[in-house]
Amino acid sequence: MGATDVIASVKAELGKPNASHPDKGRVSIYVDCSPTAEPTFEGRGGEELSIELSTALQRCLLGGKSGAGAGIDLSSLSIVEGKVCWDIYIDGLVVSSDGNLLDALGAAIKAALSNTAIPKVEVAANASSDEQPEVDVSDEEFLQFDTTGIPVIITLTKVGRHYIVDATAEEESQMSSAVSISVNRQGRICGLTKRGGAGLDPSIILDMISVAKHVSEQLIDKLDSEIAAAEACDEEL
């Protein structure tokens, strides 16, 4: 987005599901801020920002603890209930930072997930209930991830008395506070994070939510058409 460049990648591994949710897969999101973006990110410098971005993304994409309202359908990741499931690792890398990192990462993750193909797994039928069942990971057949439910993140930055969308680094340096709202295709809020120290009036937050919903409709349409165009290009190659 503008001068902000981010790369998102999705890796899947077979693993054991969480004991409290045996019928769901696991997703873990991690963002790394590379020193190529800012010299201050070298070593431990970018760690705080990485944690903030990772937490915000997890909040927006993974939904409540029971799994409801999640952008990614976790039950589709389960192979054998209670024993084997897919562990999805989503990694984001910030290459060039010119403000509005969260929106760019959200869009990149959405695109990466739509490009993700989970291989089909066959479970050996005669596994006893205590041991790990044998799984045969197929190299040929793939399942496409369903990304229509994945929300998109809009960050509204409050500068003075106005709020702006998609702030550049220069505009962000003047901000008093920012609210990042994640909205999905049905117009429901999937996550909200307030950043920045200044206090905000509650009515302003509600106003920001309605503005974010309006902007998100355009962004989702644009993203979907871009992803479809890119996939069409891939198939031609």
Binding site: A19, S20, E48, I51, E52, T55, R59, L62, G63, G64, K65, S66, A68, G69, A70, S177, V179, N184, G187, R188, I189, C190, G191, L192, T193, K194, R195, G196, G197, A198, G199, L200, D201, P202, I205, L206, I209, S210, K213
Partner: protein, 289 residues
């Protein structure tokens, strides 16, 4: 004791809400009955005391149901020499969990340890304050970086940083028992500790969280409700100024639901603010008697 380290995967947990219990089917429309018998929009009764730690500049202890938190504030102290000069003060926050805070020892890992002590159920407010130093020697605390940064963001909007340039204020929060809705309790307790320390604030900060369970909006959830929740909304605000310093929303919410939830939470924050103020007044008037 040492010979007991075996293949048992988890420590014995006395609470019945362990992993095997399936989520009770919440049919849309039916009401959720709360495990402790509260109304849906009723917060837990709060027990607040300042001056819990004698050696700190300011401190506070808060108990909301089963969630017990102690916060101590040190400062303003001289900033480390490595840090640059700044004409406003700095705030440093740290939130850690004791290893006996959750029903399963350690926040994430399940491991058997002969030194696990089930002290939680034996706590009463006065003995906690007495025993805190002993516990810190025996058990390690695990840091929580993301809770620390959220505490930092919640408090930095309320502190008048210009009143202590070149110095740092350290806020250390320790969660003794995690009974649900931990971060809001930590934030409210931290702002009490800051006022006890005499740090200048724009207003005290009160924080409340709300869970969405099916169709019901439940305020101040316990850990059992949190594990079944569909969504969570946490608001931190300064009641007298009517300003929100932090807000996080997880899960899927429709706009009218968010409006309703925000309204209920802000009302709860105002009431909590009044309780905090009365606690501070008591603390000040008591020594004068």
């Amino acid at each position: 004791m040492a010979g007991k380290i075996s293949n048992t995967p988890a420590t014995y947990t006395p609470s019945p809400t362990s992993q095997n219990k399936k989520r009770p089917s919440i049919v849309t429309g039916s009401d959720w009955v709360r495990p402790d018998g509260r109304g849906l929009h009723q917060c837990r009764p709060a027990f607040l005391r300042t001056g819990a730690v004698n050696s700190a500049s300011g401190s506070a202890y808060a108990e909301f149901g089963n969630t017990k938190v102690i916060v101590s504030v040190f400062g303003p102290r001289e900033s480390k020499k490595a840090m640059m000069y700044s004409d406003i003060g700095r705030l440093n926050c740290n939130v850690s969990y004791t290893s006996f805070a959750t029903p399963i020892r350690g926040q994430v890992h399940e491991s058997f340890d002969p030194y696990t002590l089930k002290l939680c159920s034996y706590f009463s407010p006065s003995t906690v304050i007495f025993c805190i130093n002993l516990m810190l020697l025996v058990c390690q605390a695990s840091d929580s970086k993301d809770l620390s940064s959220m505490l930092h963001k919640a408090l930095e909007g309320a502190i008048i940083l210009e009143s202590f340039p070149k110095t740092t204020v350290d806020v250390f929060a320790l969660v003794l028992e995690s009974g649900g809705s931990d971060l809001p309790v930590v934030i409210s307790c931290a702002s009490l500790a800051l006022s006890d320390a005499g740090i200048r604030l724009y207003d005290i900060v009160a924080s409340v969280s709300m869970s969405c369970l099916g169709m019901n909006l439940v305020i101040d959830p316990v850990s059992e409700e949190e594990s079944y929740q569909d969504g969570n909304l946490m608001i931190t605000c300064m009641p007298s100024r009517n300003e929100v310093t932090q807000m996080t929303v997880t899960g899927e919410w429709s706009t009218p639901k968010i409006h309703e939830a925000m309204q209920i939470c802000l009302d709860a924050c105002t009431k909590l603010g009044m309780i905090m103020r009365s606690c501070l007044k008591e603390a000040v008037s008591a020594p004068e008697e």
